[in-house]
Subunit: 202 residues, 2 copies
DNA sequence: TTGCAGTTCATACGTTCGTATGATATGATA
DNA sequence: TATCATATCATACGAACGTATGAACTGCAA
């Protein structure tokens, strides 16, 4: 609980921006939650926007690193992609705030914040490379690796942010057990989307 | 060009909300674009939020109707799902603003605006029913129809909003020809995601 | 102890926000 | 022409916003 002010601001900003977006969160709310002075953001980061970018980077960088890590780990390309999908969907994912923040930014017509663009580029390249490998060994179907990578990523991201709404609109339960069924479903779907031969997943 | 004020407000609000979201658009900007008085939104709709809901509804209702229409048209369930995917991705889609608006709302932790929740429920039910039909005749693989429906929807939506960023981060061109390749890719991916037997799409 | 850089603090500034208000204009009905 | 509901208008209001300012505090170096 006794973190330096700068870190407290970063944490508070990360949580609030992730759940409500840049515009809907005020400097006053962030500083209040961080138990810091109103001027602390200006002093430590320069501006609200600079804190926003720092907050994004603090989530995106380790996330991209984790993806890259899994990508060069053991296993077939398809298995490594499955690991990435599971990691992205895990409730205790390293940084649960990424899908909401990324999709919110993508949905606007403003340019992506630089740390977010960096992460997206890095992750799509990682997955694309994995897919190209799978195409070489015949385990993944033909097609533009970049497009296939987007198809792979779209499902865990959409499920992540739509989970609450799906529950709300379709009555699909989401607690504990049910969510792991959802993860299995997404894994199966992703494998079928890109595999060269039909595969049932694990 | 000589529309009633109410309609001009609705159009301006729809365009601006779709591209930048609720918070980032001001009443002053909307009324200026609609060449209406500052107080016109309050007078005709009651509040900015009411205009927002009306704008959502003016896009969502015809969109859901179109989906429902295709769903009970001719063709196998898989073909009808393909038609829905193509319609959702078409550049001259009846209402291009839906994926951005929906995803932005989903990405936040506030409750969905009622017209948006209605549309989402309606569309997911439509697709789910189509999938259940396909399961009955053996053309679509086993699995929870609702989850399969979400997998189907996730890809066109993600491609729709990520198109710009993909171009920006991966250098995939998006003009004219290239975009129709993207549509074909998504169709193929969706068919593979849910088909009982591997299918190459059209 | 003095001096000083690094922080924290209360408060103020100028802007923009959504909405309210009351006067004025408009056009159909009597 | 007189009436009256409907609509438009300029303007005001209070609140919230991000940032700036300068004083007060802190702890270490001299």
């Amino acid at each position: 609980m006794n973190m330096p002010v700068r870190q407290r601001l970063l944490n508070a900003g990360r949580d609030l921006f992730a759940s409500r977006g840049f515009d809907a969160v005020s400097v006053r709310e962030i500083t209040a939650r961080a138990k810091a002075n109103l001027g602390a953001i200006t002093y430590h980061f320069g501006s609200k926007e600079a804190l926003y970018h720092a907050a994004i980077d603090s989530i995106a960088a380790p996330f991209a690193a984790m993806i890259a890590d899994v990508a060069q780990g053991p296993g077939s390309p398809l298995d490594r992609i499955e690991k990435i999908v599971r990691a992205a969907l895990s409730p205790k994912s390293p940084q649960p705030g990424i899908p909401p923040m990324l999709l919110r930014e993508l949905a606007g017509d403003r340019p992506l914040p630089p740390p977010m663009a960096r992460m997206m580029k890095r992750n799509l390249e990682t997955v694309s490379r994995l897919i190209a490998d799978g195409q070489k060994d015949g385990s993944i179907r033909a097609g533009d690796p970049a497009l296939l990578a987007v198809s792979v990523v779209s499902q865990p991201f959409y499920f992540k942010i739509a989970g609450r709404a799906i529950e709300q609109t379709l009555g699909v339960p989401r607690g504990g057990d049910a969510w792991s069924h959802v993860i299995d479903h997404v894994v199966t779907s992703v494998r079928r989307t890109i595999a060269a031969t039909p595969s049932q997943g694990t």
